[in-house]
């Protein structure tokens, strides 16, 4: 039970990292990134390929240290964001969102089919878990929780500092009124690009954090529901533009998501097999309640920070 809870906290923290990144892009800059999963996936696969041991099934087996995996994940996600940003940042609002969604689906197809690179649907195994050898495997969760928790704290502090600075003020300005910001002498395109790249790098780091916990990665994890839409839910429930709020939102949504598993014991068998749909219903209800009663998010009333 306790290890279940630790596992919940680890995955919750990883989602919280992704939610912070989305909050930077959407909550502050107004970039409707519906391709979170793409950067999450890029980070996950980059780190997996860089750090896993020798293999004949796919490219890689570089066996680099885990830290290199994290750095590589951030660089590849950021680099791809830079390339995508050139055409995509010309689009505004909903069209940007659709473009990113399409890019995610395209990259997902590449990952599924280019098995020389990613081993296709079979996935990559044997991804190293940091400090796995030095502790009792039974207690490994605690170690990883400390790593991921520290990462979350570090990223939270970095983002909180950035959005309070003049840099963040310009992002908020763009989020509110891009034309006015441009007429105030700020190169909006450059700032949108910076926000897009920085946020996407953090999403890549979240992906790396995921694979070094599970030790395995396959394309199933990166369907838009589990890698993009759930993060949007977390941000909306937590409070768009509120960093502490979206962390709380991430844990709350994730708690409801995994908590619904426990329900299977208490409901008739016919319903239990459909629990996956019921959890979506729950999450939908939570979103509805939040939007109706606390449109600023569960931690509303706090100043933006």
């Amino acid at each position: 039970m306790i290890s279940y809870f630790v596992s919940f906290l680890i995955i919750g923290s990883i989602y919280a990292i992704a939610a912070l990144a989305l909050n930077l892009q959407w909550g502050f800059t107004g970039l409707m990134n519906f391709g979170i999963g793409a950067f999450y996936m890029l980070g996950a696969y980059t780190s997996a390929i860089l750090t896993s041991g020798p293999t004949t099934e796919h490219i890689g087996g570089f066996g680099l240290p885990v830290v290199a995996g994290f750095i590589g994940a951030a660089l590849v996600s950021g680099g791809v964001a830079f390339l995508i940003g050139f055409p995509a940042l010309r689009l505004r609002g909903g069209t940007f969102a659709i473009a990113l969604l399409a890019i995610h689906e395209t990259l997902l197809l590449v990952v599924r089919n280019e098995s020389w690179l990613t081993n296709g649907v079979w996935g990559i195994r044997g991804i190293p878990r940091p400090f796995f050898e030095v502790v009792n495997p039974k207690h490994y969760g605690y170690i990883y929780l400390i790593i991921v928790g520290g990462l979350l704290l570090l990223i939270y502090l970095a983002i909180a500092k950035a959005v309070r600075s003049p840099w963040g003020r310009i992002l908020r300005g763009i989020g509110e009124d891009e034309d006015l910001t441009s007429m105030s002498g700020k190169n909006c395109w450059s700032y949108k690009m910076q926000s897009f790249i920085f946020g996407s790098m953090i999403m890549g780091i979240a992906g790396a954090a995921y694979v070094h916990y599970t030790g395995f990665v396959s394309p199933q994890v990166f369907n838009p529901l589990m890698s993009t839409f759930i993060v949007w839910l977390m941000v909306m429930v937590g409070g768009t533009g509120n960093n502490r709020g979206v962390i709380a939102g991430a844990f709350l949504v994730w708690a409801i998501w995994v908590g619904s598993d426990f329900l299977t014991d208490f409901v008739p068998a016919a319903v239990a097999t459909r629990i996956g749909f019921i959890r979506m219903l729950f999450v939908g209800i939570i979103l509805g309640i939040t939007v109706l009663t606390r449109p600023q998010g569960i931690l509303s009333g706090e100043k933006r920070n």
Binding site: P166, W167, I170, S182, C188, Q194
Partner: protein, 257 residues
């Protein structure tokens, strides 16, 4: 200082600006008047890079600025205010001002984490300046209020406050007096005159209030139907029959001639 040469701009079939040519001399407060729909605000939008002109050139300080991005034009020292006020609604009044200064150290992401001290010093400088401006505009008590809660007149003042945050060569003011209480209006107009006299700031002002225009501006340019009708001193413009016609419609006796 500002030369507009044969600018054309149309939206679909509507010719908003038609072969418009005009010049604003350095150090003057030039007025721009004309009936509604004459193209004054569109001209401002074209000059500041918000719209691309269909044809023609704009020179500012002897440099061709046609087709530059709005932020590039701002950086050359040309600023504008809006007829319908624009402000960052969710930001505080103070933040609305703090965003404006050019080249802040903290505008670079890397510096945010590694040059915190320099940024803090610069922020304090800008903060002092902003407080001073708010005091002048009699808005100091509202500095932490989200700008969306300001009454219309004070939103107008906030735009002027933004202008005061930076050193500029030229400012385009779109109806600066509208919606401001008369006493404060005088204060603001005095400030504009003072800026012009002491710092050589060039101003180009659209205004509907004829008292403001006649007291503040010289020369005055009159626009109708997207091009310049005439220009001259306040007296000349006031006595020009064509100007009166443009405002009041064509004289019936001259119809069909």
């Amino acid at each position: 200082m500002l030369k507009v040469n044969k600018i054309n701009k149309h939206f679909g079939g509507v010719q908003a600006i038609c072969d418009c040519t005009l010049e604003v001399e350095k150090g003057t407060i030039t007025g721009l008047i004309g009936p509604n729909g004459a193209g004054k605000t569109t001209l401002f939008n074209v000059i500041t890079g918000f719209y691309k002109p269909g044809s023609g050139q704009i020179h500012f300080n002897d440099e061709d600025i046609t087709g530059l991005q709005p932020y590039q034009i701002f950086r050359r020292g040309l600023f504008r205010t809006f007829q319908i006020t624009r402000e960052y609604k969710e930001m505080s009044v103070l933040e609305n001002l703090l965003l404006i200064p050019k080249g802040q150290v903290g505008e670079r992401l890397w510096n945010v984490w590694f040059k915190a001290k320099t940024i803090a010093e610069q922020e304090q400088e800008n903060l002092d300046k902003a407080q001073e401006i708010l005091e002048f505009l009699e808005m100091k008590s509202k500095k932490d209020m989200p700008a969306k809660h300001l009454p219309g007149g004070e939103k107008k003042l906030l735009e002027l406050g933004r202008m005061m945050m930076v050193d500029l060569d030229m400012v385009l003011l779109d109806e600066p007096g509208a919606g401001i209480p008369p006493i404060l209006q005088n204060k603001v107009l005095d400030y504009i005159k003072k800026m012009s006299r002491e710092r050589g700031l060039t101003l180009f002002v659209v205004e509907h209030d004829m008292n403001v225009i006649m007291n503040l501006c010289d020369p005055i340019i009159v626009m109708t139907d997207g091009s310049v009708l005439t220009q001259g001193s306040p007296e000349e413009v006031r006595s020009d029959k064509r100007v009166i016609q443009a405002y009041l419609g064509q004289n019936p006796s001259e119809h069909h001639t």
